[in-house]
């Protein structure tokens, strides 16, 4: 979609096909745009509630599935509150995709260490589809995911199957267990083990709440990851999505245009980038 033409701020009309309840405050929305919109894992789009406003989200679906796009959205503010009221048949607008995708070809021949928390699983789901399409070119994919409690885990039907994919190893941990939970208990940092990956030949991809990213990043550095091999999804306030309004600035960068994914190497000198 054009970033400087006359229609740069105009969303494409889309129909809400389906709403899936993931957790008490997270839902997945399946939208069918009137014009084809394709994205690559890591890129984001702006979802318009007609007449109200837009919010930026990274699609969580498989980029090869072109007819519909899925967005997993946490209820957090006023626009996301209205998005949560959407029902099948409702009209929304979509603008994008914008931003830089994960540089997947540069991961070829390496191990990919995917670390996520909370609703950060949404962009990582799109990434997981992408990695799975190229799994033959990768050494292995290791996924470590943390959630507040078992009830707060998204994609509960789908998630366990990720671990059964070729060359993929998945561990989920919850901060607080409930009766019946047989998996790990503890913050996600507690399941990042030194022998999970060969840090010299691996990249780490992290997405989650800012505070979690901060601690995971620190742990990854301690494990020996090079700053250029840690990919972080940064969340900042966005309005235009195309590098013009300056709302999303992160030091010298604009998250919408230069990101939303940055390597730690790029942002390590910015005071409190989170």
């Amino acid at each position: 979609m054009s970033c400087n033409g006359k229609e740069q701020y105009r969303p494409v009309k889309a129909r809400t096909e389906k709403v899936i309840i993931e957790t008490s405050n997270i839902k997945t929305f399946v939208f069918r745009p009137e014009e084809p919109l394709s994205f690559l894992p890591g890129q984001f789009m702006l979802v318009t509630v007609p007449g109200i406003g837009e919010c930026a989200f990274t699609p969580s679906s498989d980029y090869k599935q072109k007819e519909t796009l899925e967005f997993t959205i946490m209820r957090a503010g006023s626009v996301t509150g209205l998005i949560h009221q959407l029902q099948a048949g409702d009209t929304v607008g979509l603008r994008g995709p914008y931003g830089q995708p994960y540089p997947l070809p540069s991961y070829h021949g390496k191990e990919v260490y995917v670390v996520g928390g909370g609703v950060g699983l949404a962009p990582l789901r799109a990434l997981m589809y992408g990695l799975n399409h190229e799994i033959d070119q990768l050494k292995k994919v290791v996924v470590r995911f943390g959630s507040r409690s078992p009830q707060d885990i998204c994609y509960r039907d789908d998630l366990p199957s990720w671990g059964k994919r070729k060359k993929t190893d998945l561990v989920i941990s919850v901060d607080t267990a409930v009766p019946g939970w047989t998996g790990n208990v503890g913050l996600v940092t507690t399941i990042l083990k030194d022998d999970d990956v060969d840090v010299k030949n691996a990249v780490a991809v992290v997405c989650g709440p800012p505070i979690m990213m901060k601690f995971v990043n620190k742990r990854l550095l301690d494990m020996g990851f090079a700053p250029k091999d840690i990919y972080l999804s940064m969340e900042k306030n966005m309005s235009c999505g195309i590098g013009k309004c300056f709302h999303c600035n992160l030091g010298p960068y604009l998250v919408c245009k230069d990101g939303p994914v940055f390597t730690w190497e790029q942002i390590k000198d910015i005071p409190e980038p989170w």
Partner: protein
């Protein structure tokens, strides 16, 4: 490009022709200051090209306070196309428009540019500290220098050449007078800004290394800031905006969806200000600059540190409007001079 000599009558004739074909905004003297006005046949004589910039920036004629930038999901209504002439803007305002176009990247601007040299500078002018000059060297259709007894008009584009009716070429003596005006204003700028003893050219890599972000200087200036955002709004080179949507009531003839929602909505591009607390807040409340001093600091970083990386230039043109407008009497030059004192090895002293 060629320079011509024009009398007051020639200038008024030029303005009359421009007004006949579109909107002309120009400086008009009001209580000793130049203010920006739309010129009409009745006010042609009031246009004043002497002195320095207008109180208000020209940007608001190009970057509107609020502008509808999209309608959805109905077709966009056709825009109206009256020719706009920015008349008498100074080099600083011209440079600020360059910032706007670099940021927005929306193609060649449609308006005509008639710049005017500063025949004097203001108390708060500091274009010389950010690498500017009080006259434009390029980027105009016409440039005018007001002399005692007439004007020198230089053409800067074929479009500008076409605007002129035949005029005599400027003589060497007249060109000497022009050089005198320019040198005089440049010298005046040096005098006005002498006390700051610096140019705005800190080596920011060094500043970050010295942890200038945590300097007490920021907290000191912040004490004076009342967070009114006047500096943001009056600044010709602040270009931040927010997109705001509204629902239109049936005027655009849209359809309804299955649940009866009407398809008639507008999106507006509205000026925003980085000093406002909500500027960087995300849904859910997290804010990357919750403290006022962080926001104030970000404004300086944006203009002097980040913009060279993003746009290849500073985004302060030294017009001094923010100094005039500040309710807390914050003078950007003083703040900068303080920073220079703290990064002593790298900023070039003059």
């Amino acid at each position: 490009m060629p320079s011509y000599f024009a009398t007051q009558a020639d200038l008024e004739a030029l303005l009359a022709r421009l007004i006949a074909e579109g909107e002309v905004v120009a400086p008009v003297l009001d209580q000793g200051r130049n203010i920006l006005q739309t010129v009409t046949a009745a006010t042609i004589k009031d246009v004043n090209l002497a002195g320095y910039r207008t109180v208000e920036p020209y940007k608001s004629y190009v970057f509107k306070l609020t502008e509808r930038v999209a309608t959805y999901f109905t077709p966009s209504p056709a825009g109206q196309n009256r020719r706009l002439v920015l008349f008498g803007l100074r080099a600083c305002d011209l440079s600020a428009l360059d910032v706007y176009h670099k940021v927005m990247d929306e193609g060649e601007p449609a308006y005509l540019v008639v710049t005017a040299d500063c025949t004097a500078c203001g108390r708060t002018c500091f274009c010389n500290m950010v690498g500017g000059k009080p006259y434009a060297a390029a980027g105009f259709d016409l440039n005018i220098t007001a002399l005692e007894n007439g004007y020198i008009i230089e053409t800067g584009s074929p479009r500008g050449e076409q605007l002129l009716s035949p005029l005599p070429p400027a003589t060497d003596d007249q060109l000497k007078l022009q050089a005198g005006v320019r040198n005089g204003t440049e010298a005046q700028l040096e005098t006005v800004n002498q006390e700051f003893k610096c140019k705005c050219n800190i080596n920011w890599t060094e500043a970050h290394r010295l942890n200038l972000e945590n300097s007490k200087a920021w907290k000191e200036v912040t004490k004076k800031c009342v967070e009114c955002s006047a500096c943001n709004f009056i600044c010709p080179s602040c270009t931040c905006f927010l997109l705001l949507d509204s629902r239109d009531e049936g005027s655009l003839g849209g359809a309804r969806d299955e649940r009866g929602t009407k398809d008639e909505n507008s999106r507006h591009k509205v000026w925003d200000a980085c000093l406002k607390n909500g500027y960087a807040r995300v849904a859910g409340g997290a804010n990357s600059r919750p403290k006022l001093f962080e926001r104030l600091q970000n404004r300086y970083h944006c203009k002097f540190d980040y913009s060279p990386t993003r746009l290849g230039r500073y985004t302060c043109v030294g017009c001094g409007r923010c100094i005039d407008a500040c309710a807390g009497n914050i003078d950007m030059r003083e703040v900068y001079a303080e920073l220079v004192r703290q990064v002593p090895l790298t900023a070039k002293l003059v």
